[in-house]
Amino acid sequence: MLLRRGKPHLKLPEKEEEEELEMFQVAGRGPAVQRHEESSGPMTRFRRIGRGMGRLREVSDDDTTTTELEFELSCKVINLEALQQIACCGHLDGESRATVWKLLLGYLPAERDAWEGELANNRLRYAELKEELLVNPSEFLRKEDETFSVSKQGRIMGVDGLLSRQKVFNGDHPLSLGNDSIWYRYFKDAEIVGQIDRDLERTHPDIEFFSGDISQSKRNRGAMRNILLLFTKLNPAIGYVQGMNEVLAPLYYVLNTDPNEQNASNAEADSFFCFVRVMSDSVDHFCQQLDNSSVGIHSTLSRLSELLKGNDEELWRHLENLKVNPQFYAFRWITLLLTQEFEFHCIMRIWDCLLSNPLGVQEMLLRVCCAMLVCARHELLKGDFTSNLKLLQHYPEIDLDYLLDTAHHLTPIS
């Protein structure tokens, strides 16, 4: 994980010794960033008050952030707002990222003591769901038979002679074409599984975690396949849409690389619930029927336009004149939460930022998209339709600090 050093902007006046750490976090991050909806401004060097000691010292951002984070995570009741502020600059260290994301998504409750119970419950629920929905018909029928015919002797043939014929369970058989046949449903699901598998093969082909040939990668793909299939079966109205694998990928990666052994081994169950939470915001974007409605993708794209217009009218006008509509470039940005636009380690940081917005992921997403446009304004203003579209569809590398900073400072649409 590349951590970028912030640019020193300004020095802060000395703080009172007795100021609590809590207070410090809000005030210490740069000058008067009084926007109530989000937190910090540009990265600054700032001073940290030793706990209970009057020493003031200057430290670099990363150190401060790490120790603040440790402090926050060690509290009995987690202060979500403080966590959000730490996360929004995208400076989480890899080790705590899993826990922080789980807290930000609301998967883990704020009370530390309740974590064990919650996690155990959810993991059990996941196992039950899997057993109910993902088992193949052979095993399912075998279990049914065993419960029904426990008393029947002689099922296990010890005696020579004609093998006795029995009724099939529920009139169901492998070649059945009825909708209520578990076999029929199993084979229908096989088509979806085929598509999910094809997409998983294509997820991040450069990262061995996802696309390698070793058993670990195969396990990862298997876990992701289970999660996506379960999600599809629980949400038949949306089904599986290509791209969901991309949204799942960073989530599963982070939860699987949790240094805590127990968490990492249960990453599948935890990722499932976190994935559901992430998707619940953006699920409307995947539903084609809702495209033109007020919650659909087109309405979101027009909100992006509005945001751009409010912040950089010149650029907006230029793009409008060239007819570079958001549909051409921002569709993928928004539906896939920017997972296709940046390098993997950058996606982590951007997601830190997205997940930490108290107003929700979508709001922050629009800001970051708009910031992407604003940061590239120099090239965009010079370019024509073709070159602009090319640039936006293959967004160039950019300093993430600058990007996130711009995003934070945009004027929201009223």
Binding site: E139, M157, R165, Q166, S176, A190
Partner: protein, 190 residues
């Protein structure tokens, strides 16, 4: 969970024009992993049709088959089971349990699939299981005219086999099943 289709004695086109429509509507590609055919297809078109259902097709030679290159017997291993395939007209007396048991020992298989009698049968004999899927088209045999079209679908799941028997009786498809297991240690079916 491996699905294996066992059928035979179609005698197309000499004694029957085609599989019954109700059977054909059920047999779609993509569900079955292996097809084993006892023989007497008899023509290449039937072979191609079966190949379209599943690429892994095994056929043994029946006395009326036009393709002379099919082997007399065949063995294959699916999961934990060894299956043997033979048309059955070579085993005299036809359908005799002891003679078939001899063939089973010769081929050293757990499940022997034979045909020729055009009658569905499934029995356990001397440590092995013999399955006769009957005639999939209901073609008459030299023994009887009264033949119900039938075929067999085996669901092989590690040490357990569920045999689904499909029969066309009075125009309706009836499905039954037969369960048997094999012990892990002994080679014989339990």
């Amino acid at each position: 969970m491996v699905l294996v289709l066992a059928l035979g004695d179609l005698h197309i086109p000499h004694r029957a024009p085609d599989l019954p429509a109700k059977f054909k509507s059920m047999l779609v590609p993509g569900k079955i992993q292996h097809i084993i055919c006892t023989g007497n297809l008899c023509i290449k078109e039937v072979h191609d049709y079966l190949k379209s259902l599943c690429p892994d097709l095994h056929v043994t030679r029946g006395e009326y088959d036009e393709d002379t290159r099919y082997p007399e017997t065949k063995t294959l291993t699916i999961g934990q089971f060894k299956l043997g395939l033979c048309h059955g007209h070579q085993i005299i007396p036809w359908g005799d349990l002891d003679s078939l048991a001899m063939l089973q020992r010769q081929l050293d298989v757990d499940i022997l699939v034979t045909g020729h009698t055009h009658q569905f049968k499934a029995y356990k004999h001397e440590g092995g299981v013999v399955i006769n899927p009957g005639s999939a088209t209901g073609a008459y045999s030299s023994i009887t005219y009264d033949v119900n079209p039938s075929f067999v679908l085996m669901d092989i799941d590690s040490l357990r086999v569920v045999v689904y028997v499909y029969e066309l009786i009075d125009g309706e498809v009836k499905v039954d099943k037969i369960d048997f297991k094999k012990t892990a240690t002994a080679n014989a079916s339990q």
